[in-house]
């Protein structure tokens, strides 16, 4: 049992990724000979991961109308708008998701490209938890997501196109007629730009559809999407449309060898 000493604070810091790199290495070396404390750090990390697993699905759930109404009250809006324009400039690089002038209807919130763009906007800026299961555990990732989506689902390999697989996560979709499970795979190029592939079960509602590529834009996020058999696919990113199309074509070919 550790007392409330510097060491314990540092163990929390390590669990939360808050130690500077040099100190982190020292603490990790110390932990190698202190199994009890090492187990504690592991348990705390597991708690954090469990919290994310339990509550992250809320991030991509459609917003209830009453919450949008709450910030739509007339009278204050012009003031709000003026003040926040500056806020937006300050936050611009961090926020990363620019919804349109009018927040979309609930109906539009359930479309494949919208859901995919939203999921991209929410998770692609994440530094610590961009994915739930990372690419080093690919076999586990495939088994896990395949089970949840009810069909074998392998992430395409896009190294040849310049994108490495970071990993994937399980989400809950809206509007599909399958079991609601959605997989998101995340990729990153050498400069840190990220693409996400969103795979939704039975997005068409009839389960046998096949469509050509379609393109949609949500804010600054471009989405190529298509239906194929029981899945709907959407590739999202803030890259140029031509670049997205290039990668989407490779994804399609790998899924349909």
């Amino acid at each position: 049992m550790i007392s409330h000493s510097v060491e314990e604070q540092e163990l929390h810091g390590l669990s939360d990724g808050r130690l500077i790199a040099s100190r982190r290495t020292e603490v990790e070396i110390w932990l190698a000979s202190h199994p009890h404390e090492a187990a504690q750090v592991e348990a705390w990390r597991a708690q954090n991961a469990f919290l994310h697993r339990a509550y992250d699905p809320i991030l991509v759930a459609p917003l209830p109308a009453r919450l949008l109404d709450a910030i739509r009250r007339p009278g204050r809006f012009s003031l709000l708008r003026a003040a926040a324009a500056l806020a937006w400039l300050a936050l611009g690089g961090i926020v990363g998701f620019q919804v349109r002038g009018e927040y979309p209807s609930t109906e539009r919130q359930t479309t494949l490209p919208y859901q995919a763009a939203l999921a991209h906007a929410v998770f692609s800026p994440e530094v610590r938890h961009p994915v739930e299961v990372d690419a080093t555990q690919e076999a586990h990732l495939i088994a896990w997501l395949s089970k949840r989506l009810g069909a074998t689902l392998k992430p395409p390999h896009l190294e040849a196109a310049g994108y490495a697989l970071l990993g994937g996560r399980l989400l809950t979709g809206e509007g599909g007629s399958g079991n609601g499970a959605v997989a998101q795979f995340m990729y990153q190029d050498g400069r840190g730009a990220r693409l996400t592939l969103y795979v939704r079960n039975d997005a068409s509602g009839n389960g046998s559809g096949e469509t050509a590529f379609r393109f949609a834009r949500e804010g600054n996020i471009g989405v190529f999407y298509w239906l194929d058999g029981r899945f709907g696919y959407a590739l999202s990113g803030s890259a140029e449309k031509a670049e997205l199309l290039r990668v989407a074509t490779i994804v399609y070919r790998q899924l349909n060898p």
């Binding site: 697993r53 699905p57 709450a70 300050a90």
Partner: protein
């Protein structure tokens, strides 16, 4: 269009935190709604260029604290099975999630806030200290107690298995 959107962009995170904090989906959205309304009323007090997210979480903390202090006391979660948001029910390990809901409900509100701001919202200890308006040392001691207690609660409910299903 910028002002509303800047706040809209933060709503998903406010909802996530509120859900974990109060357990019940409808009550969580009540908390978010109260927070948004207060944010609009106080908009002029927001210092331009400062962190909008931290500001909104600070407001939510104040609303939350007022709610649990004001009689009739808001009762956290019924003892019966808690209604789960549809988005969460479809996650297959619903049982483990319910264990987590229950375990969080057992923590004191102070401990739960610290644990969630740091473990779920990934705020730094200094940011959590600012949002909650308590010294850094208080944040650390609450965090420590919350983690020990949560670990014991999860072990007790599931024989220690629940954390292993995470990955």
């Amino acid at each position: 269009m910028f002002g509303r959107d800047a706040i809209v962009t933060e709503i998903p995170r406010l909802r996530r935190y509120a859900q974990a904090l109060v357990g019940d989906a409808a009550r969580a959205d009540d908390l978010v709604q109260d927070t948004l309304e207060r944010a609009l009323n106080k908009w002029l007090l927001w210092r331009r260029g400062s962190d909008l997210r931290a500001w909104l979480f600070t407001i939510m903390h104040n609303v939350f604290v007022n709610q649990i202090r004001t009689p009739p006391l808001v009762e956290f979660r019924a003892d019966e099975a808690m209604p789960e948001a549809q988005t969460r029910a479809t996650q297959a390990d619903g049982l483990a999630l319910r264990d987590l809901d229950r375990a969080l409900a057992e923590l004191s509100a102070d401990q739960r806030e610290v644990l969630l701001l740091i473990g779920l919202e990934e705020m730094s200890y200094a940011e959590a200290s600012q949002v909650l308006g308590v010294p850094l040392g208080t944040v650390m001691s609450r965090l420590s107690r919350a983690r020990v207690r949560l670990g014991a609660l999860l072990d007790g409910q599931t024989g220690g298995a629940s954390l292993k299903v995470v990955k």
